[in-house]
């Protein structure tokens, strides 16, 4: 089995509204898999379904070759970790406390710290470069730092798969690249499968091994980066004029939206 996560014919919706319609795809083990698509395409819902926190009506999700429903909660938490888009900041736990919470699927109900937890905690904090913040309170950190704290927390779960919902959305360029590099490193060094929802097509082109393009709850295209990021598919999905050429940085596409004022001259 080379599939980390397989989604089979999943549909989701409430009432008459359909949010996801018959979605199927496979995430290969050890891949950097990025889900892109316009607003309201169901990306976040799809992420919640993969994280096991949204109950879907139809279909099946297999994780590491086993149906999601056969996992216990603790087992699932040791296999998949999730980093949300909106990270809460309305409490004053220290960075260390929050990162340590990632160990809870490996601990008893009271989350009492075990010997190996300290070592894993330290590793995760070094890896994400937040060890100097250990005793700072969460509500005193910047957005980028908080993001890294939550990533360190997810790493502490020792997952096989890590899911991230638009981790770069509210960050400046330097922090965006830093988060993406971190995920790339996690994939390369620890063999963790990374699944990410992103709005940034160019970051997706630079880092992604495989892409999934969603629109209105349906898959428009999936496959290797250069297969998905063509101007025909992208213009169809986003409904606007785009320029797709090769990035000066290497062998991957670059996508530039064309402003309205320039359209007349083409």
């Amino acid at each position: 089995m080379n599939t980390a996560l397989a989604v089979h014919n999943v549909s989701y919706g409430y009432g008459a509204t359909s949010i996801l319609d018959d979605i199927s795809f496979n995430v290969p083990k050890g891949a950097f898999y990025i889900i892109i698509g316009p607003n309201g395409s169901g990306k976040t819902t799809l992420m919640k379904i993969m994280a096991g926190s949204a109950k879907f009506k139809k279909g099946r999700v297999d994780i590491m070759g086993r149906p999601c429903s056969q996992y216990s909660r603790q087992e699932l938490a040791r296999t998949i970790a999730f980093v949300p888009q909106n990270i809460p900041d309305d409490f004053s736990f220290t960075v260390r406390d929050v990162v340590l919470m990632g160990r809870s699927p490996h601990q008893g109900v009271l989350g009492l710290e075990r010997k190996e937890d300290g070592r894993i905690l330290k590793q995760a904090m070094m890896f994400t470069g937040i060890d100097h913040l250990a005793h700072r309170a969460i509500d005193q950190l910047s957005g980028g730092e908080r993001q890294r704290v939550f990533i360190a927390r997810a790493i502490c779960q020792k997952p096989r798969i890590i899911l991230l919902d638009e981790p770069t959305a509210a960050l400046d360029l330097a922090h965006q690249v830093r988060i993406m590099d971190l995920m790339e490193q996690l994939k390369r060094e620890k063999g963790v499968t990374v699944v990410m929802v992103s709005h940034d097509i160019n970051l997706a082109a630079m880092y992604g091994d495989c892409l999934l393009l969603l629109k209105k709850g349906r898959i428009v295209s999936q496959g290797r980066t250069d297969e998905v990021l063509t101007f025909e598919t992208l213009e169809k999905a986003y409904g606007c004029l785009l320029l797709v050429d090769e990035s000066p940085l290497g062998d991957f596409p670059r996508v530039t939206p064309v402003p309205h004022k320039l359209k007349l001259e083409i």
Binding site: A77, I80, P88, S92, D97, P105, L112, E113, R114
Partner: protein, 335 residues
């Protein structure tokens, strides 16, 4: 202490030990305070069953003051813990059983129970529990799906409280029953009706609830990280939320059926303790139980000492301290 005991466990023991000393001190003070006035030494002798003790003093202490102090401690512990749980689950620093109307709801239930002539336990406690569950459901139904959940929750609580107050007054005007003789006093939180047999029942019911809440204390920490994150860390959100809400409402309604709705206790202690010992619920739960008990005993002492003649309901004191704190917190959270 052995070396491999986790830091959290050490912290829990340290905090509990310190607060326990405080509780014992306040209880001793509580047992020594009263209209018949007796020195600390006489109280000590009476408590230690010393031969030098005066039998009348001993009788006053054992039959009147001691049950009252224990009742105050149990009620304070329950209400503080209730505030802590509501604040964590509803993600609202201002949530508290009284402010949300849960106490008001159980008061309606309790009054109906009293009017039907039930005994305090289990009869009145059960009708009070039904009342609190009904208000809790009403509150959650009214606020679910609101984007400004925090504000709408408080507003709904205020309305539920006003409505509960009206129903209580309505019920009271409907009956001339002598059973409702002390109802006004009871409505402000009255601790003077304590006797040892009732307190034994109360403790027997409440202590398992405290343990149950403590079992879920780490889940409350994880829940603060957000629902989805908590779920992907293995928390069964539905189980935790339902168990905690039902347990808390149950505890609160039992205390309401014994001594009326005492307000704002669940606001003061959780906030104070969070400031001092941090946000970890594994230490906060035991700290709120012991600290809340001490706070309530202290308020009860004030309610006996402050008036020139007789005494006032303990709820007056807690409201005098708690309401300004509520306004302060409201102002700060708005910023």
């Amino acid at each position: 202490m052995p070396k491999d005991v986790p830091i959290v466990a050490k912290r829990i023991l340290f905090v509990s030990f310190f607060l326990l000393l405080l509780l014992l001190a306040v209880c001793f003070l509580g047992v020594s305070t009263g209209s018949s006035g007796s020195g600390f030494k006489a109280v000590w002798w009476a408590l230690m069953d010393d031969s030098r003790s005066d039998p009348i003093t001993a009788s006053i202490i054992w039959n009147i003051r001691f049950p009252r102090v224990i009742l105050a401690a149990l009620v304070g512990a329950t209400l503080s813990l209730g505030g802590l749980v509501f604040q964590a689950l509803l993600r609202n620093p201002l949530a508290e059983p009284y402010i949300l109307g849960v106490s008001g709801g159980s008061a309606i239930g309790a009054i109906i129970g009293i009017m039907m002539g039930f005994s305090r336990f289990p009869g009145v406690s059960m009708t009070a529990f039904c009342g609190s569950m009904a208000t809790l459901l009403l509150l959650l139904l009214m606020t679910c799906g609101h984007s400004k959940f925090k504000d709408s929750l408080l507003l709904s609580g205020v309305m539920v409280n006003a409505f509960a107050g009206a129903i209580i007054m309505f019920l009271m005007s409907m009956t001339q029953d002598s059973r409702l003789h002390n109802i006004m006093f009871w409505l402000m939180g009255d601790l003077s009706l304590a006797d040892m047999r009732q307190i034994r029942i109360l403790a027997f019911v409440l202590v398992p609830c405290f343990c149950l809440v403590f079992r879920f204390s780490h889940s409350m920490n994880l829940l603060l990280m957000g629902q989805e994150v908590a779920e992907t860390m293995g928390v069964n959100i539905r189980l935790v939320t339902v168990t905690l809400l039902v347990t808390t409402s149950f505890m609160v309604s039992i205390t309401v059926s014994y001594c009326g709705p005492v307000g704002f206790v669940g606001l003061v202690m959780p906030h104070l303790l969070r400031l001092v010992i941090g946000p970890d619920h594994r230490t906060l739960v035991p700290a709120c139980i012991i600290g809340g008990g001490s706070y309530m005993v202290f308020c009860d002492i004030l309610s006996r000492v402050l008036p020139d003649q007789g005494e006032m309901p303990a709820g007056v004191v807690t409201a005098l301290i708690g309401a300004p704190l509520f306004i302060y917190l409201l102002k700060r959270s708005g910023r």
